[in-house]
């Protein structure tokens, strides 16, 4: 029954922190059952008594007011916790998020406590990581074993000309920390493989797949399915890009995994190298940021994730098209009653396919 500033000082563990100001408006949502017993607490025991009278008029009838309120609760050494709050610096930095009711302080705190792993600090990973750091995602993991090449700079905006030749993850960390020093950037300078994939992916909330080759795509898919992680997927080719979210474990709507859509990769001769094909430098910006938007939506449980839908962008036509992606109930990895078949030799799988 206390005001927001008082609640910020702490309240009993597990308490509903409704506050007095909007109590009548919020109580029915928090406690729809009028027969449920309610223990009301304020600072000293007076306001909760008045609040009980109001709630009685609303139909609640098992009401208890705590004599002495939170002051006495604390004095008697009973358990309480202090709800997480954002500091004045963060309040200023994220003020445009705080102004959105769907994000607000609770959403921002959730972002600050979130962990996102980016596979690749390249064309897709650069814009995604850049904006996720700006948005205040607390921990960003970056996996890449490559070094910055001058030909990367046409699109990989985390890197700079001065850092050509240095490690991509170190270069990325430099840029991300300069933008938002409070973000924890974990650099994983390694090549993803069956042996290390679970150790690297474990503990993250969302995986952003910005890899550029089929072995890694299948490996990341299989590990995400096994670990139950959502994967924000993006791919680009010249003037065309695609984005979707693979998450068969999504509780609200079971979507497909990568293998449901493409059981096998194309043979190498039909999967032209993009170093030859090229890519419009801006295009991975568009697609990487769709992956970042989807990541934020997943972290905050907002809107409708791009699950079961492939969003295709044709830059030359200036056209977005949406295609349905259906689950394969017989999928060996995510199908009904599927038992994880284990990791495979992905290089071999992708070189002999077709």
């Amino acid at each position: 029954m206390r005001e927001a500033e008082e609640i910020a000082q702490g309240s009993p563990v597990g308490a509903c922190r409704l506050g007095r100001g909007f109590l009548e408006l919020r109580i029915e949502e928090a406690v729809p059952d009028l027969d449920r017993p309610l223990v009301l607490m304020c600072g000293g025991g007076t306001r909760s008594l008045f609040a009980a009278e109001d709630l009685e008029r609303m139909g609640y009838h098992r009401l208890y007011s705590v004599v002495g309120g939170f002051a006495r609760w604390k004095a008697e050494g009973l358990p309480f916790d202090v709800p997480p709050r954002i500091d004045p610096n963060q309040r200023e930095r994220y003020s445009r998020h705080l102004a959105i009711p769907e994000v607000g302080e609770a959403g921002q705190i959730r972002l600050l406590n979130s962990k996102v792993l980016l596979i690749g600090a390249g064309g897709l990973g650069s814009p995604a990581a850049f904006y996720l750091a700006a948005a205040g995602v607390g921990t960003l993991g970056l996996v890449d074993h490559d070094v910055v090449d001058r030909s990367n700079l046409q699109r990989q905006i985390l890197h700079t000309d001065a850092r050509v030749g240095s490690s991509k993850v170190a270069s990325a960390r430099h840029t991300l920390e300069a933008l938002n020093p409070s973000v924890e950037v974990r650099t994983i300078e390694a090549r993803l493989a069956s042996e290390n994939v679970e150790e690297i992916l474990g503990g993250y909330d969302v995986v952003v797949d910005g890899s550029d080759n089929f072995p890694t795509r299948y490996l990341v898919n299989d590990a995400c399915v096994k670990l139950g992680l959502p994967c924000a997927h993006g791919a680009v080719y010249r003037f065309e890009g695609q984005a979707t979210v693979f998450w068969p474990g999504y509780p609200k709507q079971r979507g497909p995994c990568y293998r449901c859509i493409y059981p096998e990769p194309p043979p190498a001769e039909l999967a032209p190298s993009c170093a030859e094909a090229g890519v419009l430098g801006v295009l991975p910006g568009v697609i990487g940021l769709i992956q970042a938007v989807e990541t934020i939506k997943l972290l905050l449980d907002l809107g409708e994730p791009l699950i079961g839908r492939l969003l295709c962008y044709d830059a030359l036509r200036g056209r977005f098209t949406e295609l349905e992606l259906a689950r394969n109930p017989q999928c060996a990895y995510c199908g009904e009653h599927a038992i994880f078949p284990g990791y495979i030799d992905y290089e071999q799988f992708c070189s002999r396919a077709g």
Binding site: G210, D212, V236, Y237, A277, C312, R317
Partner: protein, 104 residues
């Protein structure tokens, strides 16, 4: 016979002289694709198996629906329909398909 548009993905455009869309007639998705193949050498082998089914790394869409979930190649088409050929795309700018795991 219905008049439909087939959207060609970038990697297959060398077969269509660079065209990103091809207008064709047919009654089923399979028939339209066979006509596409007849008009553009080498294209069909990259999309369909010898038996005429989509290869494992390609999906064929009628509008927004995968034809696998409809009646496959026998799915009937109507005037103005759009058929999209959507192959798996790995990503960005690697140098060698087999040996490199460079990032997009």
């Amino acid at each position: 016979m219905s008049r439909v548009t087939v959207r060609i993905p970038t990697p297959l455009r060398p077969h269509t002289g660079g065209a990103d869309e091809v207008g064709l007639e047919g009654t089923t998705v399979g028939e339209v694709l066979q006509r596409l193949g007849a008009a553009h050498d080498g294209l069909l082998a990259r999309v369909l198996t010898a038996e005429g089914e989509p290869r494992q790394f390609v999906n064929i869409y009628l509008g927004s629906r995968n034809v696998r979930g409809l009646e496959g190649m026998a799915t009937r088409v109507s005037d103005g329909d759009v058929i999209s050929i959507v192959p798996a795309v790995a990503g960005g700018a690697h140098k060698s398909q087999r040996t490199s795991a460079r990032r997009a």
